[in-house]
């Protein structure tokens, strides 16, 4: 006969409406073994010392008279009542990790501006992460703790400064947000008031028109005048609001940072200086000597080519030919071969080093058969 697996009992999960903690019916306190069934308002607390959870009543019972040892078998750490708190994360490991990170983050709180290069900052972050990892996973705990202590001792002052800066920023940030909200509220108010004003004026105008009609004035003229007056009032109002807005903008421009909404932590990006164009010759310039290139040479040899579409269509400029010819004509004019070569030979003989291009060496090159 086949064995049928016994049906699994799925625990019933419910979310506590007040705290949002997921509770299940068979939560049992490991210390007193009381279940939610018996005690519907059962709450578990956790101590960051050893992350063992126990129900509130156990905590009250055991630790109200001062620090005592953890009742869980195998863990005897001394716990204090005030350190017990509600668990924030479902997974206890995550809770532990977050606590460690908070601790590390409180100490290693340098910012990107403190570093000269991005690489240095990244290295620093890497080191911090190494320490965190070691602490979380319990690797080399002694060494890591020593590093921790060393850093705290060395940079205690800076840590404090950074912490204070962070606090201030947060405050100013919240203040800025409040101001922004207030401004939005005021604007809403102003808009509502305007609407009311407009409605009132329309009413008045209509009443006025009716009165005048009733007192026997000409209907058309009254109507026209009524419209004109209404239009004028509207234009005036619009102009007034426009002026108001401009004034406000001018004011805003003066009182900058406090009124503007700042995103926390943004660095003012400086536009990078435009890259200098790459000079392929590295600053080397060849200046024509002994001649200056003219725009046109009347020699008939190039006149035809200058006008020939077949030559110029591809972008060829006849002046290139002229320039090249003139360079060939004069380059080397000041080179006095006899003197320079004798000088070079003498130098070579003196040094005893036969350079690769001493003329006499070539005579040795009587080939092999």
């Amino acid at each position: 006969m086949s064995r049928i697996a016994p049906p699994k009992v799925m625990p019933v999960y419910k979310r506590d409406p007040r705290t949002g903690v997921v509770q299940s019916q068979d939560d049992v306190c490991p210390v007193c073994k009381s279940a939610r069934y018996m005690n519907p308002s059962l709450r578990f607390l956790v101590n960051p010392e050893c992350y063992h959870k126990m129900c509130e009543s156990c905590v009250d019972r055991m630790f109200s008279h001062g620090p005592a040892a953890c009742p869980i078998k195998g863990c005897g750490r001394t716990l204090r009542k005030h350190r017990f708190r509600e668990q924030t994360f479902e997974d206890i490991k995550v809770e532990r990790e977050v606590d460690i990170r908070k601790k590390v983050g409180a100490t290693f709180n340098r910012r990107e501006e403190d570093f000269e290069t991005l690489l240095a900052y990244n290295d620093y972050l890497n080191d911090v992460e190494d320490i965190t990892f070691n602490l979380i996973n319990g690797i080399d705990l002694e060494e890591t703790n020593k590093k921790f202590e060393a850093y705290t001792r060395a940079h205690g002052k800076e840590i404090e400064e950074n912490a204070q800066m962070a606090v201030q920023e947060r405050q100013s940030f919240s203040a800025a947000q409040k101001l922004e909200r207030q401004q939005a509220r005021e604007r809403r108010e102003a808009a509502r008031r305007e609407e009311e004003e407009e409605k009132r004026e329309v009413e008045e105008n209509r009443r006025d028109v009716l009165n005048r009609l009733a007192s026997g004035a000409d209907a058309e003229t009254v109507a026209k005048e009524g419209q004109r007056v209404q239009l004028k009032k509207r234009m005036d109002r619009q102009a007034a609001t426009e002026r108001q807005r401009q004034l406000q903008a001018a004011e805003d421009a003066h009182s900058e940072c406090n009124n503007k909404f700042v995103i926390k932590g943004l660095k003012t990006k400086q536009k990078p200086a435009p890259e200098a164009l790459v000079d392929p010759f590295g600053g080397l310039r060849l200046v024509d000597s002994y001649f200056t290139l003219q725009d046109d040479y009347i020699w008939e040899g190039i006149q035809e080519a200058r006008k020939d579409v077949k030559q110029t269509a591809g972008g060829y400029d006849v002046r290139d030919y002229a320039h090249r010819s003139l360079v060939a004509a004069f380059s080397g004019l000041g080179v006095f071969v006899a003197d320079e070569i004798t000088q070079r030979d003498q130098l070579a003989q003196k040094d005893g080093v036969v350079g690769e291009d001493v003329g006499l060496k070539d005579a040795e090159m009587i080939h092999a058969p």
Partner: protein, 389 residues
């Protein structure tokens, strides 16, 4: 600024291989040639004694060519290269390059080792390849009635002797540039050079018109027709005549003398122009070199020296056909015998080395095996199956 800039400008020439490897002082050049000749004689006599012991020829010292005769033989073949290039109707750079290659080759080798008759065709072919007027080998060989092997065989030796530097700086393009500038000057358009005091375009034009006539010794064809005032058209004629005269000089004496080894192309072309029409050239140089620069006298003396060298050459110095034949006969008797079979040694080198006998054997065996395989393939039942065949 003038001196430093012109130094940099002249450095353009100093970076060329022609300056670095193929420029000499006159003494250096003669010393090099003498050394080459002595070495060649030593080799030739070495081989002569060896062959004497084999052949049992007369034990008397063989009558070798003197250095002077070698030089003249080489010059004869320089001219031969020129003629052949004209026969092919190739542009003038090819001609000039080929002549220079041959001249450079014979700086480090001697006719005793490589008779120019076997070399000059190769050199011309190499020049046509280098100067972008390539003709296929078969066509070339056909047109000068030489087997293609003979044309190619000495090529690597030639390249080695040229030290693999194939660029020859020519004066022809520069001469065209000077022509362009002179014509512009005649029309009153001038490109002012920094540091040179001129009166401006009009003054220069007037000065040109007032230039004195070229001396009797000048090579230009231009002569003033009537003793009247010159017009600009006459000036243009004068310039063009001077240009063509200079061109002829560059075509002949410049190539056949040692001008390329001793002077820069710029100096050569100005010297040719100087020979063609001296007043015109002096005027031109006055607009180019500042009067107070210390390079000026030196440049002028160099140009004068080059002009002298070019003028001292005459066509009669070249060997005639009979003289050449006589010298070659003499050469046969005293040349280095190890380099006689250029085609053979080239083929060996191509095949990859010594042990020619074994390599031939292997090649023959392979050929036989291949033919056998082909033959068996045509059999009724196809080739044999066991892989051999």
């Amino acid at each position: 600024m003038g001196e430093a800039a012109s130094t940099k400008f002249n450095d353009l020439y100093r970076t060329s291989s022609q300056y670095r490897l193929w420029s000499f002082s006159p003494e250096g050049l003669t010393a090099l040639r003498r050394k080459t000749h002595e070495l060649a004689i030593a080799r030739a006599s070495q081989y002569a004694t060896k062959s004497n012991s084999y052949d049992g020829r007369g034990g008397a010292a063989v009558d070798c060519l003197t250095a002077e005769e070698c030089l003249r033989l080489v010059q004869r073949y320089l001219d031969q290269v020129r003629t052949t290039s004209d026969h092919f109707k190739w542009p003038v750079p090819v001609k000039a390059t080929a002549v220079q290659y041959l001249a450079r080759f014979y700086l480090s080798n001697s006719p005793l080792t490589y008779p120019p008759k076997e070399i000059y065709k190769t050199v011309l072919f190499l020049a046509c390849k280098t100067e972008a007027t390539h003709m296929t080998l078969s066509e070339y060989a056909r047109r000068i009635s030489t087997p293609a092997d003979e044309v190619l065989a000495p090529e690597y030796k030639v390249m080695q002797a040229l030290r693999f530097t194939l660029d020859v700086r020519q004066p022809y393009r520069g001469l065209k540039g000077v022509l362009m500038e002179l014509l512009n000057l005649a029309e009153g358009m001038v490109g002012e050079v920094e540091g040179v005091e001129t009166g401006g375009a009009k003054a220069l034009q007037a000065e040109m018109l007032a230039l004195e006539m070229p001396p009797k010794t000048a090579q230009t064809m231009w002569r003033v027709k009537e003793a009247g005032k010159l017009e600009s058209k006459d000036l243009t004629d004068r310039i063009n005549a001077a240009y063509s005269a200079a061109r002829t000089i560059l075509d002949g004496p410049a190539l056949l003398t040692d001008a390329y080894f001793l002077f820069t192309p710029s100096q050569i072309l100005l010297a040719a122009l100087h020979l063609a029409d001296e007043p015109l050239t002096s005027f031109y140089l006055r607009t180019k070199l500042p009067l107070d620069s210390d390079l000026r006298p030196k440049v002028l003396t160099t140009i004068a020296a080059c002009a002298e060298l070019l003028a001292s050459f005459s066509g009669s110095q070249i060997l005639s056909k009979d003289e050449r034949a006589a010298l070659e006969q003499k050469l046969e008797g005293c040349r280095d015998l190890s380099t006689r079979d250029l085609v053979g040694s080239h083929a060996v080198a191509k095949r990859g080395g010594d042990g020619g006998e074994e390599a031939e054997e292997k090649a023959r065996k392979k050929k036989a095996a291949r033919e056998k395989h082909l033959k068996e393939g045509d059999d009724l039942f196809g080739p044999s199956l066991n892989g051999k065949g």
